[in-house]
């Protein structure tokens, strides 16, 4: 627990000092969302229909954008080497990293989701569905993005490779989340989709941190 707290506090201190790390993905999210109405046309009906898909794709890309830097600095500065060499369980470090990355990249998206709903003409029920799916789905985005970041840590061209590896794994999430919002905007029940999202989240929470740990050790060598 002491290890976890120390790692967590360190992450937050770093985030407070490097504001670009969490501000840039947020701005990217907003800009991508603005591009869609400009590109597709601003008819309110059309926008409300495609809004769930757009919101989710934008969220997915902005989390991916923030993920590349997740372990990079620690790798370059030798922090990871010290952690591997130290005889302490590294899982706490990985968990603190993932949780703080969720707080810094996904939580802001949740907070500005009412604004997004206004921009894209979603009503209150659809907004609630967007909020709930983001709440359940974004931790999964962060977990898988952390895995991608850890796998490509010492690769030559990490950034684009990370997207190539992780985007196919996001597909189930995208399908269920946008189906839930679709159902909500039609006034149908969407608790089933939320249940599937929670199940996927539980599975990922149990397995992904271990895979991240393995990938980090592998890259440090």
């Amino acid at each position: 627990m002491v290890m976890f707290k120390a790692a967590f506090v360190r992450e937050w201190r770093l985030l407070a000092r490097q504001k670009a790390d969490w501000l840039n993905p947020l701005m990217f999210f907003l800009i991508v969302l603005t591009l869609f109405p400009l590109g597709i046309g601003a008819k309110p009906n059309l926008l409300a229909e495609i809004a769930p898909g757009i919101i989710w794709i934008a969220a997915l890309l902005s989390v991916l954008l923030g993920a590349e830097r997740l372990f990079k600095d620690d790798f370059r500065q030798g922090v990871l080497e010290q952690l591997v060499a130290a005889d302490e369980p590294m899982l706490f470090y990985v968990l603190a990293k993932i949780i703080s990355s969720w707080c810094s990249t996904a939580l802001p998206l949740l907070l500005i989701s009412p604004l997004i709903a206004l921009l894209l003409g979603l009503d209150a029920t659809a907004w609630l569905a967007v909020l709930l799916t983001l709440l359940l789905g974004t931790p999964l985005l962060n977990l898988l993005a952390a895995l991608g970041a850890a796998l490509t840590l010492s690769a030559d061209k990490g950034g684009i490779l990370l997207a190539l590896l992780i985007l196919p794994l996001y597909i189930p999430l995208l399908i269920f989340a946008s189906a839930a919002v679709d159902n909500a905007s039609l006034g149908l029940d969407y608790s089933g989709q939320l249940a599937v999202l929670s199940a996927m989240l539980c599975l990922a929470l149990a397995l992904v941190p271990l895979a991240v740990l393995k990938a980090l050790k592998l890259n440090v060598g």
């Binding site: 796998l151 490509t152 010492s154 690769a155 061209k157 490779l161 590896l165 597909i171 189906a179 592998l218």
Partner: protein, 254 residues
Amino acid sequence: MFKWLDPYAKPETLYRLCGLWFPWLMTAAFISLLIGMVWGLAFTPADYQQGDSYRIIHIHVPAAIWSMGAYSSMAIAALIALVWQVKAAQWAIGAIAPIGAVFTVIALFTGAAWGKPMWGTWWVWDARLTSELILLFLYLGVIALSGAFADRQTGAKASALLALVGVVNLPIIHFSVEWWNTLHQGATITKFAKPSIDASMLWPLLISILAFGLWLAALTCLRLKTAILQNEQHRPWVRQLVSSSLKSSVIKEG
């Protein structure tokens, strides 16, 4: 069992074994491919509904089956590589991945070519098509990751991990895509429901499936041989092998 299996994982032994198996596998694959293709493409009766164009099934179905079979064997190799740290299993991943990717491309291409006359379109966002496409993306990810590192060993291990993550995800992707498809459209496929296949068409199909499997195994042996030589080039047995084969070629030319 592992005590019995372990010596075979030694690169030198494995290299010999692959060299031993390759000609047999390739010959068997070639013969069965010839029989399956000629029988399937020329001698089976035409389908009562789809006419002659159904014959592409003899390429499409084996390629699709083995694109998934190759992924499973890759994932098994990845498990062995990560759990028991068997180096040869790591190399096997790199050997299988491109073959599996090509099989996936063949399945997608023949599927599109079959879909055009039957469904009137090259591509439908149907569950099976979509999950096959995603399978291709997973293969490409494994291939790209294994080549992305300056250190070959790290690349092999990372792609092993990715192959395992992919195999956990594959059923989730498959069922979510199926579920998504049945929500939006269902009629596309049921309209063209497969008639249970007649024995005269089934036999050549089974032979073709066998042929593609043998072909996969043969190519894997060949690629694994190359991978072993590449990764073990500093070892004495490889040097000995190379110098002796150089000598014999010099003698032949001289």
